[in-house]
């Protein structure tokens, strides 16, 4: 089947019910998207499908054939996405393992809401787990990313 990932078309030979997560990681070698739970509980595997956040461990690959998939590797060519800039500025990461998912969730949020409120951040990122406890900085960096996003647009 055909899969469009980060603007590139791939032909993948995968069983239709293979989770997108493992297609990305094990068949396409895009290891920036992480496995943390496999059951939709942690958000480490979050990617964008047609611009919307989606947990790739819970997504059958056949469901997204022909759609546009974006992973952390495709968010920007040079870490220039406002979320990535804010993340660097606020020194958010620790072990880093959950951060692809956090960043993708944040990017989807600020694409939808120009100025997300704390409750909106809770709703969008409340189930993105981080065992290193970077939550305070994640929240601050989402606010900062929204600002940068507006500055870059104007």
């Amino acid at each position: 089947m055909k899969l469009r990932v980060n603007g590139k078309d791939h032909e993948v030979a995968a069983p239709p019910d293979m989770p997108l997560l493992w297609v990305l990681r094990d068949l396409l070698g895009l290891t920036g998207t992480k496995y943390g739970c496999g059951v939709g509980q942690c958000g480490a595997c979050l990617v964008h499908v047609d611009g919307k956040p989606r947990r790739s461990c819970m997504t059958d690959v056949a469901d997204v054939a022909g759609k546009s998939i974006t992973t952390i590797e495709g968010l920007s060519a040079d870490a220039s996405h406002p979320v990535q800039q804010a993340w660097a500025e606020m020194d958010v990461v620790q072990c880093g393992y959950c951060q692809s998912g956090q960043i993708m969730a944040a990017a989807a949020l600020i694409a939808e809401k120009t100025k997300p409120t704390d409750p909106e951040i809770d709703a969008a990122l409340g189930r993105q787990l981080c065992r290193c406890g970077t939550y305070q900085r994640v929240r601050a960096a989402v606010h900062r990313a929204a600002e940068l996003n507006q500055e870059q647009k104007s």
């Binding site: 920036g32 992480k34 496995y35 739970c37 020194d91 880093g96 939550y135």
Partner: protein
Amino acid sequence: MSILADPNRREFLKAATLGAAGLVVGFYVPAGRRFAHAAEAPAAPAAPPLPQANAFLRIAPDGTVTVLLAHSEMGQGIWTSLPMLIAEELDFDVSKMKVEHAPAAPAYFHTAFGAQMTGGSTTTWSEFDRYRQVGAIARALLVQAAAQRLGVDAAACRTENGAVIAGDRRLRYGELADDAAQLPVPASVALKDPKDWKVIGQPTRRLDTPEKINGTAVFGLDVRLDGLLTAVVARSPVFGGKVKSFDASAALAVPGVRKVVQVPSGVAVVADHFWAAQQGRDALKVDWDLGAGAALDTVAMLAEYRKLAAADGKVAAAAGDAPGALAKADKVVDVEYVAPYLAHAPMEPLNATVRIATDRCDVWTGTQMQTGEQMAAAAITGLKPEQVHIHTTFLGGGFGRRATASADWVSEAVHVATAAGATVKTVWTREDDVRGGYYRPMVVHRIRAALGSDGLPAGWDHTIVSQSVMAGTPFESMFAKTGIDPSSVEGAADSPYLKAIPNHRVQLQDYRAPVPVLWWRSVGHSHTAFAMECMVDELARAAGIDPVEYRRRLLADQPRLRAALDLAAAKAGWRSPLPAGRARGVAVHESFGSFVAQVAEVSVEGGRIRVHRVVCAIDCGIAVNPKTIEAQMESGIAFGLGAALSSAITFKDGRVQQSNFDDYRVLRLPDMPKVEVHIVPSRERPGGVGEPGTPPIAPAVANAVAALTGQRLREMPLRLRA
């Protein structure tokens, strides 16, 4: 040519000569000895041999400076703070340094433990001299090379931002690297006077951010090799169970499954990719001989613990006559505190990739204990330790789980690769992680304390019931004489409070159960701080004395703890009024050479405890990177708060009742309080920061809940009674 690339200087890579008997390491250093090494090292420069600088630093002719880390980056920030130590002495811009994990080799042994490992919040203090010395040695060699080239005296040269300067001549380090590599290493080097520090103490951004925000950072799970297969292992559903027989036919019928092989820990399904391996395991039929582990039940165990807590155990600390003081007292507070088994649940599930050839074995994994893994892999493959190459990747969290005496997941992965005759990445699922051990032990504390006429405790009788994390491991030899695992009683038996209580006794009931237990971020302190700090708070209230004031009186001879307490109380506005429905609680605890006080502000909403704000003060001696310290306090608080509010591992019929993040609950973003960190200025030698933020949060919250509701919650996770 680089300094490191000089073949004459590569001896350090040669051999891991450590024999099995040499492995006397542990995260636990008795409090008195913890700083012995660090304290002795700098005094006489001639005494300890200088580090082999070339093992830690490469300067390439193109000017690239690469720092090799003897310890593992698992989020705690040493990828930045260790290079800072070199940068300080080398006079080089730390933000331009490249960083790598070192290979496994004796040159990288922990300066206090004699093995390559990361844990016990020891990295900063144990490397504080070595990494500075490396920078100073390299600088001396570069200056010497420049002096020779320019025909001037070395004393006429100074260094600045990656260059040696003499008069109006300026030579970049890269231009000098080849010459410097040929020079003899100096016998001694002087380190900068702290007043001249330009790097140490400066808030410095993480060096590993770029690769961690664009998906390129390589964790163990991300390792890719030609012909690599992936395995998942079916392990016994109860601890100690053994495979009786298995039927692999359905597993082998899953497309992509290549092999099904038996290993000591169970049956491995080896496939082209993870998904096939996991499906193959679902289809696999294994008949288990469960053994005694099938009787395990935490409800029954807790009842047994409570009985043991009322009986005499082994005496870990005693002064005066505690039972006598209690018998005489008018007012005795007699309570029990309970802490459950806890999983570490690092965000990256355990995994290791193993490739075996006739004369070498390569292991890629995120580990906290390279030497142990190297020896384990050597023993299994029959190779020599130096033929085992450990490639340390980034760790997707550690918290102690990636440091087992048994090298459990690496040993298993070596067995799988051997049995499969292939290069294999063995991956644990999250369910395997939650159900497969190792855990922070379940612990019961029973404390009886007598209040004196001044309100202060006149007697303290304390019994701890716990499994030992070191029993049955090579570390057990450390406490063979006493039979008391010091990590079961740390934070209680050596509590500064007890020094102010004339009659006290701390006893240990060492419980044996077939549950694998391990150090979990802050080890014994993760439960002793809860018991000590809640009890002191109960006594303060029983005496009608303000909890901060009560602690100040008991800690009259503990200036560092008191200063941290005072700072946290002042910054939190301890005595200032709060809106209705909110209350504050305080806790202060020393661990890993650092002193931490926290004030938590809580409310109760819909029967749930909500923590709004935590003010944290830490004295960790010299603050190498204040940004790291702040991040680690936030991290330690989040880790401890998740456990305090929601995490527990329980057993019924030998089975772990939790399986994934839906029922093994950890802290989530909406429950993260606002954390404010204040660092006590200090010129003392550095202490740890990875763990000390964790112990005080649970008692600070429990104490705040007691202040707010009058309910004393003595069991973690904290649950309000209806």
